[in-house]
Amino acid sequence: MTALELDRMEHLTRRYARHSQGAAGFGAVLGGLAFFFQGGLLFGYGLGYFLRNGCDCRTRGVWKYFLSNELTPPLLLQLLLISIPLVWWAVRFKLHRWATAAYGEVQQTRTGFRMRYARMDYLGSLAMGPALLLYFSFRKGLHGHPAAWTPFFLGAALALLAPLVAWTQRRSHSCEDLEAGQMLFLGSALTLNLGIGISVALMVPPFLVLATIYGVLGLWHHRQFRKVRAELAALPVPE
C-alpha cells in the first residue's frame, strides 16, 4: 500500500462524508422546492384575493395592498403551510437512507468550530420563532382578535419544531439542507400568521431567494456525490 493510495482513501472518505450528508444534495433540492411552493402558494393566494375582491388601489397602490395585513390565510392554505415542512422532513430522511444504502453512512469529523456552530444554530432557532411570533402578536394586539389565536398557536408549535431539526444536525453538522428545514418551519409558522403583521409582500421574496440558493446548493452537492460514488464504484470489489 503506497502513501498515494492512502492519501486517496483519506480524500475520498472526506468527500463522501461531506457530500453524502443531506441525502446527497436531495435534501437541499427538496428544501428549495418547498420554499418555491410556499412562495408560490402565498403569491397565488394574494393575487387571487386581489383579482377577486379588488382594492382601493388608486389611493393606496398595489404594492401597499400586498404589504398590508388584510390577508388572513384560509383553512386550506393553513393546512398546506403546516404540511410543507413536515413532508419535507419525512421525505428528506427517507432520501438520506436511499442515498447511503449502497456504500453506507460516513459522518464528518466534528471540529470545535462546527460544534459551536451547531450549538448556536440550535439556540438561535429555539429563540427566533417564538420571539418573532410574540413580536407580531403584540404589535397587532392578539388579545383583541380571537380568530387569530388558532393560527398563532399552530405557528408557535411549528416554530418549536425548528430547533428539533437543528438537534438532528448535531451529528451531521454540515447539512445545509437541515438549515433549510429549520427555515421552512419558521417560514410556515410566520405565514400562518399573515393577518397579524406579516404581509404577502414581506414573505414571498425571501422564499424565492431561499428556493434558488438551496436548489443550486443541493444540485452542486449531488453532482459532487455522483463523482465520489463513481470513484468508489471503480475500486476493485473484495472477494
Partner: protein
C-alpha cells in the same frame, strides 16, 4: 544506499514502528477512520477492498488494542456496525507517520 551501508543504529527506527499500525490493511482502516467521525462497515469494506472476514479480524485486533471503537445498532431490522478511531488510535497513527517519515527521510 547499498545493503552494506546500513549501520546497526539505522535499523532502530524501523524496529520501533508500531506493528499494529504497520500492517497494510490496518493502516488503511486507521487512515480511513481518521478522516471521519464514524464510518459504517459497508463503506470501510468498499474503500479498503478487504473481504468481510479480513475486515472483521483486523477491526477486532484494532479494537482489542484500543485503537478503534465499535458501535452496533439496528436500522429497522438490519444490523449496522460502525467504527470510530479512538484518541489512542489517532495518536498511534500520527506517531507511526512521524516515525515513517524519519525512516524514509534518513
Amino acid at each position: 544506499m547499498k545493503p552494506g551501508d546500513i549501520k546497526p543504529g539505522d535499523i532502530k527506527p524501523i524496529l520501533e514502528l508500531d506493528r499494529m499500525v504497520h500492517e497494510p490493511a490496518r493502516l488503511a482502516i486507521l487512515t480511513v477512520l481518521a478522516a471521519a467521525e464514524e464510518v459504517e462497515f459497508q463503506f470501510l469494506q468498499r474503500i479498503t477492498g478487504l473481504n468481510k472476514g479480513n475486515l472483521s479480524s483486523h477491526t477486532q485486533k484494532l479494537e482489542a488494542t484500543g485503537y478503534l471503537a465499535t458501535t452496533k445498532a439496528f436500522r429497522g431490522r438490519i444490523p449496522v456496525t460502525s467504527f470510530r478511531i479512538t484518541k489512542e488510535g489517532r495518536k498511534a497513527l500520527e506517531a507511526y507517520r512521524k516515525q515513517l517519515r524519519k525512516v524514509a527521510g534518513g
